[in-house]
Symmetry: C2
Subunit: 243 residues, 2 copies
DNA sequence: TCAAAAGTGTTATATGTACACCCATGG
DNA sequence: CCATGGGTGTACATATAACACTTTTGA
């Protein structure tokens, strides 16, 4: 029976963190794992694996993230399901792909080794399977969503200055933002709250520290069902930011 | 070995068309099929089925749509993959769900029968599995995307008046739109082109007929990769429309 | 006391909204 | 010749962008 071909289900995760390079510019980085088996053996690929039948999709993505980087995701969302008939030799593979944001200072200390390495997300080598295209799509999604959703704080720690938050936007959107307008835009959304503390040790006027304010982060009630079952909505649109 | 549970892959499609009810208001309708097997036998459910290992995901969604309604989709996009461990008894089922728009006047003549029936999308009975939640999410997606993407013409035929196009927006967004501002907004996007023909037979001034202008429908080039591999981008954002 | 980032104020422009008004046709 | 939807003009409100300016700190 040569026409019997099995379909297998995999879960992979595109992980993003920010890393500040030598000249002080923050850019997007992503961890990849080296393939230790035959399709594309030795090439770099997205972290992931076969889906156990008793594990939730999102849990599998979070586990994958943890086992390759040692980190917990600060943001995790399903990206797309890739199922092209010829995307892998042998059995057909359908990959449910998630994308994740991790806290960047934690990512600096994250696991690396012979089989796990971080790459600049905008300048990747040739990867296994269709993974270059998948990461390209995840990048597009991150950049698009950053313009209307409140996800930037996922790259930062518990408290942060507005300059640090702006740096996240600038790194992801790849354009400078006016500090004055940025401040007003963010403050008007009510997503951040001043802690009362200031960040000391800067060479200049010490900036206020803010905290992501989850209390104000409610849905606007326009539609009842807006998010896939089982997934709370941590996101509220805010006005565009330009220049 | 009682802990061996298989995972199976299914593809389902949420199909939308507009139907004008007795008092002349257009509303969203969706076709459902009656279950003829045991999990939830006799209940209404989304059209779909198991994924053949040699068929593309999108092709399976289009085939499903065709076999239940006899129609071809004018718009088809992946919605989400639902894989909750307990969403179905027996083997675990992972469903890759698509959503589709079909031409509404064709849908009026579409197949119906003992096992296929159209329902008002906002007023559904209790469906099999998690299908109420899935359709609710698809509705949210349709309404959200209608505000920034050019998909409304998928409900209409080759040519249409601006009043017909506006009726689509009003039905989906559930709010009246100012005819004057709607006209300018649509014209400024360049997505429609006047055919030169006018629609005769109305009791009043005959309106111009327009055609969806695919030529101007290019991506804006901000990012290179914006859409999953194999899927061209028929969509360009346009300004919001209110009131 | 000075450089530089934090933070505030003000104005110009673009975009969205409301609505008055003219046009063209079938009845 | 009139009721009605098609189609145009215009003024007002709000959102966004640009940038001058004041404040506060460490060096």
């Amino acid at each position: 029976m040569s026409d019997a071909r099995a379909s297998r289900l995999a879960v992979s995760t595109v992980i993003f963190a920010l890393r500040t390079d030598d000249d002080g510019l923050a850019t997007l980085w992503t961890p990849l794992v080296r393939r230790t088996r035959d399709p594309h053996l030795g090439q770099w690929a997205l972290p992931g694996g076969w889906l156990p039948s008793d594990e939730e999709l999102e849990a599998a993505a979070a586990r994958t993230l943890r086992s390759t980087t040692g980190l917990a995701p600060k943001y995790l969302e399903q990206l797309y399901t890739f199922g092209g008939v010829d995307r892998s030799p042998g059995d057909r593979v359908i990959s449910v792909v998630y994308w994740a944001l991790v806290q960047s200072d934690e990512a600096e200390r994250a696991a690396v080794g012979e089989n796990v390495q971080w790459f600049a997300a905008d300048d990747l080598p040739a990867l296994a399977f269709d993974h270059n295209a998948i990461i390209g799509y995840a990048l597009w999604r991150l950049r698009t969503k950053m313009e209307y959703a409140r996800i930037a704080h996922a790259f930062l720690g518990e408290t942060f200055t507005l300059a640090q938050l702006r740096e996240v936007y600038e790194a992801v959107l790849q354009k400078p933002l006016d500090p004055a307008n940025f401040r007003r835009t963010i403050e008007s959304t009510g997503t951040v709250a001043a802690t009362g503390e200031r960040l000391a040790g800067t060479p200049h006027r010490p900036p206020m520290l803010y905290r992501y304010d989850v209390a104000t982060n409610l849905t606007d009630g326009t539609f009842t069902t807006r998010i896939p079952p089982g997934k709370p909505d941590p996101i509220k649109p805010h006005p565009r930011m330009r220049t």
